[in-house]
């Protein structure tokens, strides 16, 4: 269900985030969920300390387009993924969890 936008021009005062389930909503409705597509190891017992550190703590922290998770906590309550530029803060695309991760080049189109 797409909810109506509030009457004031929210794009002037904050980020407008296009929830794949609810449509464009104001940033304050969302929580940031960190880097996307970090896959939990299927065989945790096989991992050494190095691999655990990589999985738990090491992050791309990319300067440029990065795939990240967002949580529409004050809306549909669902997680989704986004491609956002970390210098301009512009959202290039959003897509649902489980969808094929978008490549940065595709998002530019």
């Amino acid at each position: 269900m797409k909810l109506p936008l509030p009457p004031w021009p929210i794009e002037d005062v904050m980020l407008l985030i296009d929830c794949p389930h609810c449509g464009p909503r104001a940033e304050v409705e969302f929580r940031y969920g960190g880097q996307a597509h970090i896959v939990r190891p299927e065989q945790p017992a096989d991992l050494d300390d190095e691999a655990w550190a990589e999985h738990l703590y090491m992050r791309d922290n990319r300067r440029g387009l990065q795939a990240e998770r967002w949580y529409h906590i004050h809306g549909c309550g669902r997680f989704f993924n986004a491609l956002r530029h970390t210098v301009t803060d512009v959202f290039e695309a959003t897509y649902t969890v489980g969808a094929t991760p978008l490549k940065c080049e595709e998002a530019r189109k």
Partner: protein, 416 residues
Amino acid sequence: MKFSAISLVRHAINDHKSWTRQWRSPAPKSAYDTIIVGGGGHGLATAYYLAKEHGLTNVAVIEKGWIGGGNTGRNTTIIRSNYLFDESAALYDHALDLWHGLSQELNYNVMYSPRGVMMLAHSVHDVQVFKRHVYSNRLNGVDNAWLSRAEAKEFCPPLNVSPDARYPVMGAALQRRGGTARHDAVAWGYARAASALGVDIIENCQVVGIDRGPDGAVVGVQTTRGSIQTKKIAVVAAGSTSTVLELAGVRAPLESYPLQALVSEPVKPVFPCVVMSNTVHAYISQSDKGELVIGAGTDQYISYSQTGAAYPLAHAVEAICELFPIFTRMRMLRSWGGIVDVTPDRSPIIGLTPVHGLFVNCGWGTGGFKATPGSGHVFAATVAKGAPHPIAAPFSLDRFRTGRMVDEAAAAAVAH
């Protein structure tokens, strides 16, 4: 040139036309013993202590912008050392000890003002946590005292201690040795002192590559002003640390968030100390110029934009108005953001990396300014000797593999 009363008089007679530049601006040489990447307070302090305490003067500080133009010039200048764990207390209190004599040591007035840092408790949980901090600090020889609500009001008269407040003040922890310093002066003072000892400070020069030898060790850097050979690279690049380390293929447990602050129009002295509140989340002091300096929490997402959304600032201002109704009609002058590199345990990373010759000092997150002298001091020793200084040892990059964290999320005091 030494600053003194005599030199002031001499220059005054000369109508102040004879002042010279405070540090040299040399072109990069083709090789240095050590290159420091990042000319903020921590990098410049590292250069200064390398030259002064370890006799290493063939050192360059390479800065992408201008010195002190990053987080050193963007923080809220608060200095304190009331961290919970032994490792942190040792590190931050080492810095606090150095702050005391810093202006004399550098012959540059950094305007260190130990006016007291008071952290407010608004709930039973706050009271218990802060008392635990007070006792822990005392065991570590760090001054910290518990104040009742009335004592907090006495120490900071503008504070609203009404029991009718939405989050009433139930007491406070006070570190009297804490306070503020002039952040720009810290960068300038270290730059001037390091330059006088022979360190080259190279501004407007970005590192774009790190060269490695056949054995993997670093052999030089590529910069926007040419390539420079070196055996040791010390990365002190705050929010840009991940980007620089990536040039050498080193992964870091860092995320870079905007952290915002704002200042009011200047007014006469009205606010005697530094007040921080984790629960309603704001921190405030008054600069010597008269502006109220107010800090917000970090923005929620990774960004290199050096700006942030409006609502974290609005939230901070609402909290200030709740704590200090006297300021509700104060006009704000300007706001800005800096990019802070946050680690999973909110403690810094100081030490060696898996790449031979590559050292890193980062992860100071929302509270690096207070540690500037101590950070530079222990990191210089680490770089000079190639092994961690005893105070820096617990803060190795390796702790994320071993699991021996120094979890200071509560003492970091800034929401993130």
